[in-house]
Amino acid sequence: MARVVGLNGNYAIAYAVKAVDPDVIAAYPITPQTAIVEKLAEFIANGELDAEYIHVESEHSALSTVVGASATGARVFTATSSQGLGLMYEILFITSSLRLPVVMCLVTRAYSAPINIWCDHGDFMSAADTGWIQYMSTSNQEAYDAIIMAYKIAEDPRVLLPMMVSIDGFIQSHTIEPVALEDEEKVRKFVPKRLREIRLDPDKPVTIGALGDPDWYYEFKVQQQVALEGARKVFDEVVDAFAKEFGRRYGALEPYRVEDAEAILITMGSTAGTFKVAIDKARKEGAKVGMITLKLYRPFPRDDIVKLVSNAKVVAIAERDLFFGAAFPGYLFNDVATSLYLADVRVKLAGFIFGLGGRALRFAEAYDIVKKMWSYALGEAEVPTHPIFVGVRE
């Protein structure tokens, strides 16, 4: 039976990792993630979890360590934030390129400088081109569930790619919410361990991580791209299986009041809850508005987005990152725009940037974004081609 307890996001992640019975954990402390691996170390010290906990001197080594362990077929876990992810960067590519089903929790935090420990999605987005499956949760229950699903997705023989599950720094990581902890036997039955046939094994040697010269490299990159695109099918299957087994369903994205909406907001992360209330308020006042909370960022669910917004007049993208110097300086905006253009859907797009470095998005600001979006749909205001920086001082 599931047991509902009050847990902050970090502990919810640690309990989920314990439930899947990992073999090797390596991590380096960084705020706001540290409590995840502290809790896991405590589980191991108490004899509640039988896993190797490898102390390392940096995040580069943390990810390298779990890469090595995963190559032998071990089930592994690591977690980090911000600068820690930055230090892992070269190994992020190696993990996905070696097709290792590493699962990582990223507790989102702004990149330096200036040094800032608070939430934004700059770190999450900076890994968008590294070949990982990326999932951004919006609640601690969802984070717990997503970790369990992540192992089933990543280790599926049709996928074999690493997966990153994020929770928002402090807003989730340090906030206590009720979380249903599932029976660990049941979880382990849901994500059974199976040794991959090809792994580092002295009795059956293979070479992993060799040179791939120009005659060979390109083919492996296409393989990776095809595998990442194909991971979506497995993701959907696992979502279904999880819903059947545990009664909670998550998708690649979550539409909210979009059926007849003429203006639709797309956002990610824990701020989705604030936007939902803003949508409700605007709806009460007669505005035909809705929203989509995007969960699965890689592979990007472009067909779902196209289907949901193709009848809208305006799509507003509200994101918590800055894509310096891009055609439009928001990662999500670029993905949405490309998706719509490829499908020949011509909807007006408005881009909002908010909450950098943990700047709170107040309800009035969220509501203002929704109202602006609606005024664009009514033709009362021109849709700006530049980003709107919400809540910044000029």
């Binding site: 390129s97 090809i198 293979v206 992993i208 060979w216 492996f220």
Partner: protein, 107 residues
Amino acid sequence: MSESKLPGWKSLPIGAVILNPPTSLRYKTGTWRVFRPVIDQDKCIRCRLCWAHCPDGVIKELDKEYVTKDGKKYSVTYEIDYEYCKGCGICARVCPAKAITMVEEVA
């Protein structure tokens, strides 16, 4: 190598795993060499330092007797595998007896 005869992405094992190691033996890295280390068997004191330092493991320790000009008898002999020696010169640098000389390769 003709590219068209190589397997495509659909049939290659994933993750660039090599299933029939060690394929590195096919790379005769000795062709990279500019200077060749030459061991003077009379000066060599059989300390094994070159063998320990060689980054490519191309110094062979052979159970081969050798008697020096001065009549000193050794039960082992060190030889270099020139098929793979890249000529880095580390062996010559670490040799305490200065028994290894780097000699320029001539085409």
